[in-house]
Amino acid sequence: MSGKNYGLVAEFDSPAAVLSAAEKVRDAGYSRWDVFSPFPVHGLDKVMGLKNSRVGWFSFVFGAGAFIGTMGMIWYMNAFDYPILTGGKPTFSVPMSVVPSYILLVLAAALGAFIGMIALNQLPRLHHPLFARARFALVSRDKFFLVIGSTDPKFSETETRRLLAEIGGAHIELVEDKD
């Protein structure tokens, strides 16, 4: 077989087992590894050293942009390009523009959060090397998988396999990357 390797995958039965396994993988000095679970496992972020997600920035930039953009749009439309005089009121004022601007802020910030989540997770993707493994279908059910990537500088098929077995992983297998 000519395919590259994606990494070694090991299976765990409970969130606690995968969490303690993750601690040991980290302590062993691996850097390119990930845990797959049916729901977010509490405390894993810290073990994996994941910093505060950048989704918030997407949301903030989209939202702020929409607020300022809508304010500008209303000024341009109702005060500059085609001024409409009603009841002697100013053609542009902040209070009346705040409501539509605020609504579009909510819209854009929400879309920003969604787009940010999709982009940071590198979705959508039609295939993933792990999908080729039948047992991986249990990831959305009740199994927890720890994968050490073959691109990890410390990766070695025998050593890493031994570590995964030591920390209690079951069904340890090498996953190919056919893409």
Binding site: P15, D34, D45, M96, A109, L111, A113, M117
Partner: protein, 473 residues
């Protein structure tokens, strides 16, 4: 050591005040997964077809027929006419927006306040929001009369150089309702992604695997994905919570900015938000009480959930009672003869007196029954209360809209309003479309957020003793 334990035990609140377990069924993760997807994967039951076929008929034939007739002939086919220019179309618009609000309140606001019990009903409530906002959004679009000019409402640059007038709350409404639809759909869909991946992983046929897989976007459930996902979910629920207050407030302002007795009130934005949530909780009960039985989800959507929704409905009923009282008090206290006229006629007028009575008896008084625990635990009674609340809230909008318009400042301007069969047909069509969409949702998507429910079980917590155990039987 044991002493501390007993001390802690004595410090913990009495049994009645303890937090309920988010998922009372203390089962393994695998059992929960099978249970919650069973309805999607099993055979279509008979009751589903019995409900689906009439709903689909209304959605596929009645609604298009009515809309075609209305659009091709004109607004005259409705009962709207001078002086009652807003009839069933706006009543139904406000009603459908109202139904939507409880869904967002349950799915977003209770998420932010860490009410873990909401996980079991969040998705079902959110779906209700998405579908009812769709129905609501249709009404203003056909209410304008010349539907081919609907695009004038959006800031589209054209050679005519026309722009929307942004001072009008009606204009804000366009943005608010569309934003509400997009944000609640996004929120709902994002919540679905992990469960779509679950359905993909469980799929037995190629077609199911392909379709669920396509919409699951290649979700793997990696810790990095969950990390970003949780943040995005938190932000989206914060933003959706804002919309609970914004959308109906703006609908309220549509009325409050008019110089009409019965509409020109500062309480209106709050009034409409409260009314919307009341109506929505009624609809949540109407949808969930039969579904939990028919889909065999009594272990997941428990009596404790129904009890909590009832308590929320009771709170909202009290708020409605307070608002009605304030309205009537202000009509009298302001000394404004037009206000007193309108409010007197709400209860004792010769034409629409029934609306005022229905509104007070059903929306403010009926929920008071829910103080009694026996009633909260009687599903049949709670279901009937839910249905009646929806009807009562519909009549509230009828009273506000028609009751204020039909007799304004000039007696020469007075008139009466009767809906036509086309009004009723369009409403029937939207009801059909709503229930059709809801039934399709229940059949093809997990109506309980499986990954969220699993995440709040005790065995999902790696720091709890049961989290270290393997799969339970």
């Amino acid at each position: 050591m044991t002493e501390t334990a007993t001390q802690l035990e004595s410090l913990s609140p009495p049994a009645g005040l303890r937090r309920m377990a988010p998922v009372p069924a203390n089962r393994s993760l695998g059992w929960l997964t099978d249970k919650l997807t069973a309805f999607n994967e099993g055979r279509t039951p008979l009751w589903w077809w019995i409900l689906f076929l009439p709903a689909a008929f209304c959605a596929a034939f009645v609604l298009p027929a009515m809309l075609t007739y209305k659009i091709s002939t004109g607004v005259g086919v409705w009962g709207n006419n001078h002086p009652v220019m807003w009839g069933w179309d706006i009543i139904n618009f406000v009603w459908w927006v109202g139904v939507a609000h409880a869904g967002t309140l349950i799915s977003a606001m209770l998420f932010l306040t860490r009410q873990h019990w909401r996980t079991a009903i969040g998705r079902a409530a959110e779906a209700m929001t998405v579908f009812s906002v769709m129905m609501a959004g249709m009404y203003p679009a056909i209410h304008v009369g010349r539907e081919w000019f609907d695009w004038f409402m959006f800031p589209v640059p054209t050679y005519e150089g026309m722009w929307p007038q942004f001072r009008s709350p009606l204009m804000w409404d366009v943005f608010a309702v569309n934003t509400y639809l997009i944000v609640s759909t996004t929120f709902w869909y994002m919540g679905l992604i992990p469960d779509l991946a679950l359905m993909r992983d469980r799929a037995k046929t190629r077609a199911r695997k392909f379709i669920y897989g396509l919409f699951a976007l290649g979700w793997t459930g990696s810790a990095r994905q969950w990390h970003n996902y949780e943040k995005a979910y938190l932000i989206l629920s914060g933003l959706a919570t804002l919309l609970v207050f914004t959308v109906s407030s703006i609908v309220g302002m549509d009325f409050a900015t008019a110089q009409l007795a019965g509409w020109h009130e500062t309480i209106f934005p709050f009034y409409f938000v409260a009314g919307a949530v009341t109506c929505g909780f009624g609809m949540v009960l109407v949808l969930l009480i039969p579904l939990r039985k028919w889909c065999h989800l009594e272990d997941i959507i428990t009596m404790a959930h129904i009890d909590k929704i009832c308590k929320m409905l009771l709170l909202m009923g009290c708020i409605m009672g307070y608002i009605y009282a304030v309205e009537f008090f202000m009509a009298w206290y302001s000394g404004n003869p037009y206000d007193s006229w309108v409010f007197g006629h709400r209860m004792f007028g010769h034409q629409y007196w029934f609306g005022g009575w229905i509104m007070i008896v059903v929306n403010a008084s009926l929920p008071q029954l829910l103080w009694i625990k026996k009633i909260r635990q009687n599903l049949a009674v709670v279901f009937i209360i839910g249905v009646l609340i929806n009807i009562g809230m519909w009549f509230e909008r009828f009273t506000i809209i028609v009751g204020s318009l039909y007799q304004d400042f000039l007696p020469a301007n007075w008139g009466v309003y009767y809906p036509t069969w086309v009004d009723a047909g369009v409403f029937l069509g939207t009801l059909g479309a709503f229930f059709m969409l809801y039934l399709l949702f229940v059949r093809f998507l997990p109506m309980i957020p499986v990954s969220e429910v699993k995440a709040v079980t005790p065995q999902a917590n790696p720091h709890q003793p049961s989290g270290t155990k393997g799969a339970m039987p």
